[in-house]
Subunit: 274 residues, 4 copies
Amino acid sequence: MKQLTEKCLNIIQPRPEISHKGTFGRVVLIGGNAQYGGAIIMSAEACVRAGAGLVTVITDSVNHTALHARLPEVMVVDWYDEQQIDDVFATADVCLIGPGLGLEKHSQELLAFVLAHQSKQWLVIDGSAITLLANTTFTLTVPEQTVFTPHQMEWQRLSNLPMNQQNQQTNQQAQQQLQATVVLKSHRTEIYHHTGIYQNPLGNPGMATGGMGDTLAGILAGFLAQFPKELATIQAAVYLHSYIGDQLAKNRYVVLPTEISAALPFWMNYFANA
Amino acid sequence: MKQLTEKCLNIIQPRPEISHKGTFGRVVLIGGNAQYGGAIIMSAEACVRAGAGLVTVITDSVNHTALHARLPEVMVVDWYDEQQIDDVFATADVCLIGPGLGLEKHSQELLAFVLAHQSKQWLVIDGSAITLLANTTFTLTVPEQTVFTPHQMEWQRLSNLPMNQQNQQTNQQAQQQLQATVVLKSHRTEIYHHTGIYQNPLGNPGMATGGMGDTLAGILAGFLAQFPKELATIQAAVYLHSYIGDQLAKNRYVVLPTEISAALPFWMNYFANA
Amino acid sequence: MKQLTEKCLNIIQPRPEISHKGTFGRVVLIGGNAQYGGAIIMSAEACVRAGAGLVTVITDSVNHTALHARLPEVMVVDWYDEQQIDDVFATADVCLIGPGLGLEKHSQELLAFVLAHQSKQWLVIDGSAITLLANTTFTLTVPEQTVFTPHQMEWQRLSNLPMNQQNQQTNQQAQQQLQATVVLKSHRTEIYHHTGIYQNPLGNPGMATGGMGDTLAGILAGFLAQFPKELATIQAAVYLHSYIGDQLAKNRYVVLPTEISAALPFWMNYFANA
Amino acid sequence: MKQLTEKCLNIIQPRPEISHKGTFGRVVLIGGNAQYGGAIIMSAEACVRAGAGLVTVITDSVNHTALHARLPEVMVVDWYDEQQIDDVFATADVCLIGPGLGLEKHSQELLAFVLAHQSKQWLVIDGSAITLLANTTFTLTVPEQTVFTPHQMEWQRLSNLPMNQQNQQTNQQAQQQLQATVVLKSHRTEIYHHTGIYQNPLGNPGMATGGMGDTLAGILAGFLAQFPKELATIQAAVYLHSYIGDQLAKNRYVVLPTEISAALPFWMNYFANA
C-alpha cells in the first residue's frame, strides 16, 4: 500500500488559455430524495467549485428551490422527466449517482438507467446507489470508467465483507471482482485500483459530519470532468478534500462540508501555481 | 448556588482520531410549524455547527426548502410521515422537541410520541413543548435523561410558580418533582439539577432577541450527542452560548442567534486546545 | 428647518442589563405581494438587525420560504389568516405596513384592518400603503403615533401637492392636516413634525436603488420598538440609515439595501459606546 | 480591429448628487425556465449590483423563491401574467431576454412580444433567445438599440457562419445585415458594431464555467440602464466583466459568475474615482 503525497496534486495545472466551459466537462449529478436532498446540494456545490464546466442536477423537484437558492450556477432536471434525463445524460462526460438518492423504487430505476446507458461517461457511484446495488445482482457496463465511494458499512453491503474482515487483501480481491475503482472512505481513506492500493494520510475527526462524503463525491466528479480520466485524478480529489479539511480544522472544531467546497477554488489555484 | 466558570468548557476536548460521523451522535430535532418555522431552522444550525454527527429535522413541510437553502447538512422528514418519524427516532441518541412546535393538535401528538418512545435517547424539551406539557398532566419516561429549557414565563406555566415567586428554593422544589434537569433561561440563566443549582455569569442584553433560545437548545442537543451525557455537558452548552454572545457583542448592538451558531466551530476549537 | 447632526444618535444607548426580548418590542410588518415580496423581506432584515425583540411578518404566502431562507429570526403569518393577524397585531408595539403591499383589494383590506385596530401601536405607513390611502378618504386613528415615509411621488399622491409645488411651507401645511409625522424621502430627506422640520444632511446617490426605502422603514419600526416612541427616535433612524449608506459608499458604487441592514449592529454598537 | 483598454471604463463616473432610483433606469429581465432558472438569477444579481435603479425579473414561477432568497432587491413577475408583463415592459428602459429562457413555445411567445413592443427600450438578446431567433425569420424593431451576446455556437446558428468560417470579415458582414451590435463571446470577446470591431484583451480560463455569459448580459443591461446608451457603455460592460474575472482569478482556480457580480460595486467605485 502506497501513501498519497502532495505530488498527486500535480494533476491540477493552469488551465489552457484557449478554452470554454465545454472544455472543462459536462457533469450530471443524480440524487436527493425528499429526505436527503441536502446531499445532492452539497455534491453540486463541490462539483461546481471544483471547476466542472457545466453541471446539471437530476433530483426530486422538492429540492429545486433550495439548490438554486444556494447555487444558481447549476441546471436542474426533475428526476421524473425521462426525456430531459435522456438528453442530459447523453451529452455528459461524468455522472455521479447516489448522494441522497434513497432506496425507493424510482431511485432504483434511475440507477438502472445510468448503468444501462453508460458509454463514454465516467461514473461515480456513491451513497444510496451503493446500497441499492448491494441488494441486487448487477453488471457494470464500463467498470474501468466506474468509481465506487463507499464508507465502511456501504462497502460491507457491496462486498459482503463484514467490517471486521475488511483488510487490504480482502478489499483488493473484492475490487478485482468489481473491476471498478473503489474509494473506501474511513478516517484514512484507501483507494483500491487494479494498479495497487493507495492510502490517504490526511483528514481529521472534525470532518466526521454528515455530508462530507457527498462533498468528496462532488469533487471527484468535477475533477474527472476536467482533468485526465485516470487514477491520478481520483487520487488528487481524495487528497485535496482532506487537505482542505485539515487546513480548515486549524480553526474549526467541526468542518462543514460546504466550507470545504467554498475553499476549493483557492486551494486549487494554490496548487496549480505551486 | 454555584457559579459556572470557564472550567466547565473542559468537556470540549480534541476529538478521537479514529472516528466517523456516527461517533458524534444522531440528533432528531422536532419543531417548526408554519408560523414559527424559523425556530427549528435556528436550532438545526446550532446543532450542526456544535458538531453533532448526523442531524434530522422533523418539521412542517413548509419549512423544508428554507432549511435546506441555509443548511444542506441536515436531513428532513415531514412531520406527518409517521413511518419515517418512527425510523429516525429509533436510532437517535438525542431528541430536541419544541422550537416553533406550536400548540396545535399535531404538535401535541408529536410530543406524545416522543414521550412514549424515549428509551436510550436524551430529550431536550423547549419552547412550545413546555407549554403543551404545562397544559396537561404528564409523566416523563426517562426524567434523568430529560432537560427542560424554559424561559421564565414557560417555567411559570410548567411549574405553576408565578414569576414573582420563582426563586432558588421554589425552583429547586419544582425541579425535584420533575426529576429532570431544568435550564431556566433569563439574563442570568440557572441550571437546576439534582446535584445543585448552577448559575451562568455570562450573557448580555444584545442577546435578547427572538431565536436565541432556539439556538441554545440546538447547541445543547449537539453537545449531548457527542460529549458525555451528563450535567457537565449541559453546563458547557449554556456557558459557551453566552460566552460567544459576549464575544460577538463587543462589536454588535444586537447579536443574531445565527451568528452565534456560525461562531461555534471557532470557539469550540479554541477551548478544545486551550 | 434644522439640520440633523450625529447628536440625534444619542438615543442609541447601551441596553439595560436586566432585560429580555420583550423589552425590545414586538413588531408586525405587513406587506409583500407576489410581485413585490422582496420589499417586505428587506424591511424585515432591517428591523431584526436594528434590534427589535420579536418580529412577525404578515405577507403573501409566496414569500414565506425566501424570507426564512434569509432570516429565520422572524415569524411568519399568511396574510389571509385573519385569526392569526388579529392575535399578532393585538400584542404588537409597532406596525409597519406598506413595503410591497400592492394595490389589490386584499392590500386595501389589510390596511383598513390596521387603521381600524391601532390603539397602543405606533404605525409606520410606507410604499403602497401610502398610495392606497391617497386614493381614498381616510381618518388616522392615532395620528400622533403614526409616521408616513413617502418618497416625493407618493407624497404628491397623499398630499395632492405636485412635486414642483412641494416646499417647506406647503409640506408643513399638509403635515399639519395629517397630524402624523412625515418622513419625506429624497436625496436630502426631510422630517415634518408638529415641532418643526428637520433635514437629513447625509446620504449619497449610491443609495438610489430599489429597496432602500423598505430598509429605512424597517429600521424605523425597529427603533420605535425599542427606543422612546418620540421624534428623536425617528430622527435617529433616518440619520443612521444614511450614515451607514455613506460609510458603505466609500468602497461601493451602489449600496445594496441589505448591506445597510447587515452593518446596523456594528454601527449601533459604535454609537451606543461613543 | 481595435483593442479595448482601461480607458473604456471612463463611462463609469461618480453619480449625480441629486438623483433617485429612477435616474439609474428600469430594467426588465426575461428568462429562466424550470431547467435553466439559475441563469436569470445570475443575470439579476449582475444587473442589480451593476447599479440599475429598478429591476424586474419575468420568469417561470418555479424560480421566484430562489431568486428572492438570494436577491430581495428585485421585483418578480410570473411569465404567464400578460397584464403585468405589459405594464412592466412599457416602463422599462432596457430589456434583457434570453438567459435560461429555453426553446419552448412560451419562450418563443415572450420573445415575440418583446420584439413587437420594443420602442424606447434598449434590448439585449442572449442565450436561448438567440437560438430561437436563429430558427425563424425575424425583423428587429429597433436594431440600433439591440445588442446580441452570442457565444460562438449561438453565433453560428444566428449568422449561419460555421465556427471555422467565423472571422472578422464574415462576422462584420453578418453584423451589418443584423444592424444590431454583436458581442461575440469567446476567450477574447469581440464587439461588432457599425463603427468597427473591438476586441477585449482580458479574461481568463477560470471564467469558463456555466453562468458567466448570463452575468455579462446582466451587467450589460445594468450599464445601459444608467450610462449613456451607446457603444462605449457596451465596451465598458465587456471589459469590466473580464477585468474583475482576472482580479478574482489571482486567487481562484475557477471564478464563479456570482462572485463577479458580488465584486462589481467595489470595482465600479474604484474606476469611478480613478
